[in-house]
Point group: C2
Chain length 457, copies 2
Amino acid sequence: MNYDSILSYIKPDKKEKTEVEELSNKIINLLDSLSLEKDIPSKAVLVGSVAKGTWLSGKADIDIFLNFPLDTSLQDLKKNGLLLGHECIKKMGGVAEERYASHPYVTGTIEGYEIDFVPCYAIKNSSELKSAVDRTNLHNIYIQENLKKDQLNEVLLLKKFMYGVETYGSEFKVGGFAGYLCELLILEYGTFEGVLKAAAHLWKPGLIIDLEDYHTGENFTEPLVVVDPVDKNRNVAAALTLQKMSEFVAASRNFLGNPKEDYFSKINLKGNFKLVEKLLTNRGTETILISFKPPEIPSDAIYPQLKKTSDSISQKLSDEGFIVENKGYWTDEVDLAVLILELSSGSLPEYKKNVGPELWNEFHSTKFLEKYGNKAYLEKDRWVVDIPRKQRDVYRFLNYYLQKENIHHLKTGKHLKKKILEHYEIQNISDFMGKTTHPEILEFLFRFLNPGVHLWR
Amino acid sequence: MNYDSILSYIKPDKKEKTEVEELSNKIINLLDSLSLEKDIPSKAVLVGSVAKGTWLSGKADIDIFLNFPLDTSLQDLKKNGLLLGHECIKKMGGVAEERYASHPYVTGTIEGYEIDFVPCYAIKNSSELKSAVDRTNLHNIYIQENLKKDQLNEVLLLKKFMYGVETYGSEFKVGGFAGYLCELLILEYGTFEGVLKAAAHLWKPGLIIDLEDYHTGENFTEPLVVVDPVDKNRNVAAALTLQKMSEFVAASRNFLGNPKEDYFSKINLKGNFKLVEKLLTNRGTETILISFKPPEIPSDAIYPQLKKTSDSISQKLSDEGFIVENKGYWTDEVDLAVLILELSSGSLPEYKKNVGPELWNEFHSTKFLEKYGNKAYLEKDRWVVDIPRKQRDVYRFLNYYLQKENIHHLKTGKHLKKKILEHYEIQNISDFMGKTTHPEILEFLFRFLNPGVHLWR
């Protein structure tokens, strides 16, 4: 495998480096002079992949932390932090947007780069932590001090590989590996191939990586535990799902068994979409799509609510006797959210077996028989009665549960609930396909049919 | 509840008593003079309900045991026992038929009564047991010695009640209570109502009744344990299924809550049959009947094979993904045997989820991927692949497994297998109903739809 060839286009060249560094310095100087001017006791620091030199070419997100003394009130920190961000963006002729993580921050687009301005406390070690973002400074210092210069390329290869096989990113939408986690993996295993070989052959759920020998790994329950070198009480891999951990292991094996440069780019699925409808309608199943407008909340809040709602509807269907073969969800985060459910059949028998108490419990048996009379019968020592179903048809069943009076039976997440109650649509796959040619939806449906497609090249 | 009124028609009157006793004596005398004449060292003894005075009017089965000395060879016992039986039936102008329990015996129909001639060893206690039937002599003696005269009526009421609610009989077809077991229950609880009250309110699975305080009950695992007073190593209720034990408890509660004379007769279902087809076809299910000729083997051998085959087919269907809502079997033991399967749907999706090894097992993962290639995907940390089904249709599926080359995948019982391979028919309920008006089959189907119908009056 010729990694140099890959590095030649994923590693920022001299021009990009100079551009990013100059822009960063300009902003930091501007921020510090603004602080001085407004008598705000903050110091601007470049953090993140740009500071560490681990950004992928064309993906430089400039993260600037505005460090306040520990005795600053949270209120002042927020107020002055946002103020400095807005002022800076204005002066640089950029476009500002306020966002929320554990506390508010400002994002600005300046000269084509996305730049985050995050107010935080200037802590020296994790015992001084006041907010979740404060730790980032310490991460920055740790990587700068420990990552060898020749390992920067290894980090870039690992991040790009993760990106290509769709395991990169710790946001809820992905549930994969954060950038900092990739850097720590290179520290642990030395090289890109070292990480892949370990994952391919040695990793098991419950694995603990503990670079600073804190011996606190047993306190965590996630499938992969990477004790944060700057905070022994944090698992850097806490957001990594078993699914994405497994997919990284599988992709590592696939790559090592047959290395191809294509693993470093996202798989190209265009051209496969024509088949989607035919494939979905020929499966002898009932594929149902519930569409609605996504709520205007941060991306990291939408996906857990979609997952929760999808799981809850699927559970209700199973409880009733429908067989959910597959399920999924998708949203463009702006106009459309879709839940998809593939059932082995869209209708159920007229009667439903209602299993009652054991005969030996005379009290509950009597109650059961008072209700159902001599329609009851015994299956071994348990009372059973066949009762007619209220809804035999899945569309009626779903419409019932998505009504205002009944939706509380589902676990939906409150923002999603509100949107569904405003308007939703239930369609079978043919009706749905008849109305959409949106390439993103076609890709979502294609992936629904081919859930392992991104693991191979 | 006026039990006298019931006893008036279930208790043999003087005429029946005299007739049965005279016939029994005549046969015993004849057998003993035949033994003398042929120099066979056997002594005829009347056993069973006639000897104990616990037979129901019109149901006197005369059981005669031909007792041989313990030093007789099994060969001589069989040969001479059968000889005496045949001679006796011939002299009395009856019709003989040889049957098999644990060893052969002869049954003859003489003057309208069915009479069993059973060769056995004349044992004095259970330690001398040589064959399963030997114990009957001891049962006879125990009941004659322990059952009080005024308890005879209680036994009759209990047996007739059991008969009415369809829990009487220890043969496989029923799996219920034997006559001797009914007698022991009266010894334990004193009266008919005593038994029903105990069953209704006190019985639980694991109950031990141990009239002679042998303390061996813990050795048995059946739902009801009644230690045989003449053999501490035998559970008299061994053949009682949890189903029939439960049904007796339910019927006891129903009777005690609302006593009706009708509980002492089998429920009359005629007139309900017209609805059967309509009910079965309106359930939104696929009801399938597999018909074939029953093998010519004893009744107690047919039913276990039918049950085994029904369970095995049902299991195969479930393994494939079909949902078996209900199942059953029926035979007239001569011309027709029927397995019935009610499925929620008669067809399955095109694809079947094939769940493979956990990803962490690299060896098995590699084997799995060699087989299925990049069609595989991960569900959490487990490999899965969707494979097209060979048979999506239940009729094709069943026809496949009932062929000579494939039937070994089912557990059928060898006699049944032979008959199925000779000829079978698979029909849906409409086709089946179109060809039959046999009242017994209609009753079977009606009961299939109303499995608790015999528990209430």
